[in-house]
């Protein structure tokens, strides 16, 4: 075999990845210790950007009040509320859809939001949440079933915007969880379920004692994917919360701060520090994936 051949095959991809991902990643780490405006990196500030982000930027992290607020806190809220919620909804749908004959149609409907952009999904949910009950379905439904109901500005309220966007994100991603879990469910041997049924186990018992435990490895993979989604999420916040990230920036997340600081506020060094924080957060997941990959490659 020609010894140069492998390199010819790898070269275009390797070159693009090296120049546009690997090298810029190291360069951004370097930029994160510079201050000032724009793309002039002459003002070396050491770790000041990080110190300011973590102690003196209430939009990023504000521990001085209770409950604490800021982009980091919002990301944590997303992690602890959104991730379990989307997993639960996806699993429930997968299990229910598995029991009916029109499974394919149901799955297509649930999966559909996965195919469209977060931009379009954001517009769809802004319409649902519209404060005018003659436009927004949610306020219209509530004013029918709750007497004396005053329309609520779901995305205009500091307290409601995060739950409102989380619901939209569950609507988008439950289909992803459902598809993966559904495939895993079908991988459980029929004999196992039959045996449990014969032994007198009820539907909910089979679900809780047999299906869920057998799904744990799949769920952990899906959970990691959703956690990465949360850490990187930007589009949905930008569309549903606007350029300011919601009223008083209440919906800002870390990736949103990175964009706003770098491009709207023109603080490229400060924004780079935010990007470095994102990288630090994903490094444990990276290590986990590499370990999983090596374990998979050996077996």
């Amino acid at each position: 075999m020609n010894r140069a051949a492998p390199w010819i095959f790898v070269a275009p991809a390797a070159l693009l990845i090296a120049v546009l991902i690997v090298y810029p990643t190291f360069w951004t780490i370097r930029l994160s210790v510079y201050g000032g405006q724009g793309f002039n990196f002459t003002n070396f500030v050491g770790f000041d950007n990080f110190r300011r982000l973590l102690t003196a930027d209430p939009n990023f992290l504000d521990l001085s009040q209770f409950p604490p607020r800021g982009a980091v806190i919002n990301n944590i809220l997303w992690l602890v509320v959104y991730t379990p919620l989307v997993l639960a909804v996806g699993v429930v749908i997968a299990v229910l859809a598995d029991k009916v004959r029109y499974e394919t149609i149901v799955k297509s409907v649930i999966f559909l939001p996965m195919a469209i952009s977060a931009t379009a999904a954001g517009i769809i949910w802004l319409l649902v949440y519209s404060v005018d009950p003659n436009i927004g379905l949610l306020n219209a439904v509530l004013s029918v079933i709750v007497r004396g109901f005053q329309p609520i500005s779901w995305t205009g309220s500091v307290d409601l915007i995060n739950p409102a966007i989380i619901v939209a994100a569950v609507w988008i991603n439950a289909g992803f969880v459902m598809v993966i879990v559904s495939a895993a469910l079908k991988g459980i041997p029929v004999e196992v379920l039959e045996a449990a049924r014969v032994d007198g186990a009820s539907g909910p018992q089979i679900f809780a004692r047999i299906q869920v435990p057998l799904l744990v490895p799949t769920l952990s993979v899906v959970a990691v994917t959703m956690i990465i989604y949360v850490i990187k999420m930007f589009d949905l916040i930008f569309v549903m919360g606007g350029q300011n990230g919601g009223p008083l920036g209440a919906a800002r997340v870390i990736a949103f701060t990175q964009y706003v600081e770098t491009f709207n506020n023109g603080r490229a060094g400060y924004g780079s520090a935010v990007a470095v924080i994102m990288l630090l957060i994903v490094i444990p997941i990276m290590a986990l994936n590499i370990r999983r990959f090596r374990a998979g490659a050996q077996s």
């Binding site: 693009l16 195919a115 931009t119 997941i285």
Partner: protein, 300 residues
């Protein structure tokens, strides 16, 4: 009677004896699943219906009124596609989406196929290490690259040019693309590749004539992913395409939202136009989409 035979007989008995109660017992399942299905469908239907209603109707009565009292028009779509001015032309944005997406799909699929072939079937020093780096790069936030890549594009005079976003999307798509195709290619039988080599086939010929044709399903699902990813992208386009004449549909819709506020007539039609292409792709190629999803996230 063997144990298996006994189970089988019992199973048959339960199947016949419990059909009616079982059906009734399943009513909650049916109701639950129909309710969830409706919950998932209604928001999109709302947008679709709104986009076909006359502007006056949209702002005076809820879209659900149009279901009992239908009154539809194509006016908004015509306006969206022909209007020019502060929001620029959404028709231009729609064309741009195609101009951006097609090369940004073809290039990474091709380069990733080549690299994945080398990783799957060729021996070279550092192969395993390079692949581990690739697995790590799958998760690096693209935010780490924006400023240096912009500086690079500025220096190379690529800003204000589609070439910039083609290159960016190609690079950003490569780690996942190589990863996905590697698992697809390495599933091919070893004997096939070796037979080709013994017959004196060059590596490029083996790749082009044997590996690619046999991996069409894997390549198709990757192409669909990349297509949807680029078509639906907002962030990368915001960063690398500042000129309104180059921006894709997603940015056009966001511009509409920021400049005009919640003007539901224009907004709903524009949003539905951005959705139309992914929906067509999704419904015609759903099988590849789902198989790719499973290969990409569950394997290894």
């Amino acid at each position: 009677m063997s144990a298996a035979g006994a189970t089988l007989a019992r199973r048959r008995r339960t199947a016949v004896g419990t059909r009616l109660p079982e059906f009734l017992g399943r009513t909650p399942v049916h109701l639950g699943i129909l309710f969830i299905g409706a919950l998932w469908l209604v928001p999109s239907v709302g947008l679709l219906v709104t986009s076909f209603r006359p502007s006056d109707d949209i702002h005076s009565t809820g879209w659900w009124n149009a279901l009992v009292n239908p009154h539809f028009t194509l006016d908004t779509y015509i306006r969206v596609l022909t209007s020019r001015g502060t929001t620029d032309s959404l028709f231009q944005n729609l064309l741009n989406s195609f101009v951006i997406t097609i090369p940004s799909t073809a290039l990474p699929v091709f380069f990733a196929s080549m690299a994945a072939y080398a990783f799957a079937w060729l021996e070279f020093r550092g192969r395993n290490w390079l692949f581990l780096i690739l697995v790590a790069l799958l998760i690096v936030p693209i935010q780490m690259t924006f400023v240096p890549v912009l500086q690079l594009f500025n220096a190379a005079h690529l800003t204000g040019n589609f070439l910039a976003i083609w290159i960016a999307h190609t690079a950003y798509g490569l780690p996942f693309a190589i990863y996905l195709l590697h698992s697809s290619f390495s599933g091919l039988p070893r004997s096939l590749i070796e037979a080709a080599r013994i017959d004196g086939s060059s590596e490029f010929r083996t790749f082009w004539r044997i590996v690619l044709p046999l991996s069409v399903p894997g390549i198709a699902s990757l192409a669909i992913f990349q297509f949807l990813w680029v078509w639906n992208d907002l962030l990368v386009a915001l960063i690398y395409l500042q000129s309104p004449t180059l921006q894709p549909m997603t940015v056009g819709v966001v511009n509409l939202l920021t400049t005009m506020g919640t003007q539901w007539d224009l907004l709903s039609a524009a949003a539905f136009l951005t959705m139309a292409v992914p929906l067509v792709v999704f419904f015609s190629l759903q099988r590849y989409f789902v198989s790719g999803l499973l290969a990409g996230s569950v394997k290894s």
